[in-house]
């Protein structure tokens, strides 16, 4: 694999690679060249259906297909999949617990130039509030391949959060992912950084900076936000005493909240959150925006010190 690959590209590749499974039907809403389901269409045109610019309908159609034994992937940009079609996802897919996988690409501010209208920063909060919904936000191409496979193997609704921007590989072919389990990338004892999506790379950078300062850092890729791996969080709280979360999402209701929910009720320790602080995104180059919104290794380092100082 090349150094940098967008998770949406990895999604298109994984879906196509697993396309032999005849139960798989792919729906798109006039974005197949961006969501990358076009790759699947090229290989399996008879099982790819463009539903046009009608995301709400697409979600309910996906539900109907699923009642007939299909494993349905429905794709659009995250803002339309989770936002515009929220109620269809909730009532047509979530409530009847149907086997639909929502491949939501262009999540977060790393969408870049298209600006706030296209940058979903609240999709995880929305999706994880639906009973029975699995939510996965993979960090790189390896993690995405795992997520697509896990989504197919798991019966029930799954929300896959994917990015537009090419991101570096933070795992390798030996990484063992497990459904519903966080992946420990680096062990440590002073502070734990729990990240997902493109923030995992910055978590690792932050860990490096902290290590140079003599701080021993644990890094967890919490690709699966729901069901959340309570065990790994409690263990981190007990063994490292404080936690920093890092996500490309509003800090209201996302990964940070999910981690805090476990920590508060099971083993209270300081939790500091790196994420978007109750603001809309804006247009700009992805990397400049990440900087502007504080989604950086430096900010994670800062929050790590703040967390450790609370002890």
């Amino acid at each position: 694999m090349s150094d940098k690959i967008a998770t949406r590209v990895a999604y298109g590749e994984a879906l196509t690679a697993m396309g032999e499974d005849e139960r798989i039907i792919v729906l798109d809403s006039d974005l197949s060249k961006s969501t990358m389901t076009d790759m699947f269409r090229k290989k399996y045109p008879e099982r790819h259906f463009n539903m046009g610019i009608a995301e709400g309908n697409m979600m309910s159609v996906a539900a109907g297909l699923a009642t007939c034994g299909k494993v349905v992937f429905a794709s659009s940009f995250a803002i339309f999949a989770a936002g515009r079609a929220f109620e269809q996802v909730r009532n047509s897919i979530g409530y009847p617990n149907l086997n639909v996988k929502i491949g939501a690409t262009h999540a977060g501010i790393s969408v870049g130039e298209d600006g706030a209208s296209h940058q979903a920063i609240e999709d995880i909060a929305l999706m994880r509030s639906i009973p029975g919904m699995t939510v996965i936000s993979p960090s790189d191409a390896y993690c995405t391949a795992f997520a697509v496979k896990a989504a197919i193997e798991h019966f029930g609704p799954v929300y896959l959060r994917l990015g537009r921007l090419a991101v570096p590989l933070v795992h390798d072919e030996n990484t063992r992912f497990e459904f519903g389990k966080g992946t420990l990338i680096k062990d440590g004892s002073d502070v734990t950084i729990i990240a997902n999506g493109l923030m995992v790379q910055y978590a690792l950078e932050a860990a490096k900076l902290l290590e140079e300062d003599g701080v021993n850092v644990r890094v967890i890729d919490m690709h699966t936000i729901k069901p959340i791996d309570r065990e790994i969080i409690i263990k981190a709280a007990k063994e490292t005493g404080c936690i920093v979360t890092a996500e490309e999402h509003t800090i209201i209701g996302g990964l940070g909240s999910a981690v805090a929910e476990v920590v508060c009720s099971e083993y209270p320790v300081p939790v500091k959150m790196v994420g978007i602080e109750d603001k809309f995104g804006k247009s700009g180059k992805p990397n400049e925006l990440l900087e502007l919104y504080g989604l950086t290794a430096e900010n994670i380092v800062k929050k790590a010190y703040e967390a450790m100082q609370m002890l």
Binding site: M51, S60, V61, A63, G64, T67, C68, Q88, N91, S92
Partner: protein, 280 residues
């Protein structure tokens, strides 16, 4: 259709109507008006038309029915109970905490329900998905849908209509229960969806207009629909909201209000009287 058969369907429909009254009466809430206007279509579909088996309600080759206007759960449940999918006594548990008969259809708790509905228009889209699956799998089942005329105001109906025509889903047969009423009053006054037949024609559907309370017309329209190829089917069924219970007929107020004890008794007596008249 033979006279004998028509009589039998009329009787079945009246029994289903009794089920609607018993269920909503016991619940103290629910939607009798739109349930009663689509009852004859339900009786025809479940007792004459659909390939279904109450012993195997999830058979992959069965015909499907989606109650897109999910608030008419009482008539769906009463029909399924009449058909033997579950005991008729259970109808009186509608909407109760300990019951499996949810206020709106739940496919995972009620045997014979093919799709969970309640949020208007989503059922129609789901039916499009089922019909599409039928095409992908080259199966010969049909997907029937019950919709409201007020429901047509929902934009998703037209998204689904475009998709159904685009993918030439001629295995999809929808009924619009054209009773002219929705919650706040006449559909033409709340937000006029008319002309209905012309709209669906423009969207590429094969459209027929019938009297929703005439079994011969219902049958003829379904047979016609099954003959034509390449287009989804819309049957615009002119109906009377509250049909079969004199004091409920054409009253917007009976959309979502349950009969009180005395009203329930009066409605059941009327329906019993009607059934007796069929037997003479």
């Amino acid at each position: 259709m033979e006279q004998k058969e028509i009589l039998a369907l009329k009787k079945t429909a009246a029994n289903i109507r009794k089920g609607v009254i018993i269920a909503t009466g016991a619940a103290g809430s629910g939607h009798p008006g739109g349930s009663l206007s689509i009852t004859d279509i339900m009786a025809y579909l479940y007792f004459k038309e659909m390939r279904i088996n109450k012993e195997d309600p999830r058979h992959p080759d069965r015909d499907r029915f989606v109650m897109s206007k999910g608030h008419c759960a009482p008539v769906l449940y009463a029909t399924l109970a009449e058909k033997g999918f579950f005991p008729k006594e259970d109808l009186a548990t509608l909407r109760k905490t300990e019951s499996y008969l949810e206020g709106h259809p739940n496919m995972n708790s009620v045997p014979g329900v093919d799709m969970s509905t309640g949020s208007l228009a989503q059922g129609m889209s789901a039916a499009v998905g089922m019909a599409l699956a039928g095409k992908v799998d080259k199966k010969d089942y049909y997907v029937f849908v019950g919709m409201g005329d007020g429901e047509l105001e929902e934009g998703q109906v037209w998204e689904a209509s475009m998709a159904a025509a685009h993918y030439k889903l001629d295995n999809l047969i929808c009924f619009v229960d054209y009773n002219g009423l929705q919650i706040d009053g006449k559909i033409t006054e709340v937000m006029n969806p008319e002309p209905i037949a012309e709209k669906f024609e423009a969207f590429g559907w094969y459209v027929q207009s019938i009297d929703a309370h005439d079994f011969e017309q219902i049958e003829k329209a379904v047979k016609n629909a099954k003959k034509q190829k390449g287009k989804p089917n819309m049957i615009v069924a002119h109906s009377t909201k509250g049909k079969g219970v004199s004091f409920m007929e054409n009253q917007a107020g009976w959309h979502g209000k349950a009969p009180k004890q005395e009203e329930r008794d009066r409605a059941l007596a009327e329906l019993d009287e009607y059934i007796a008249s069929l037997e003479v």
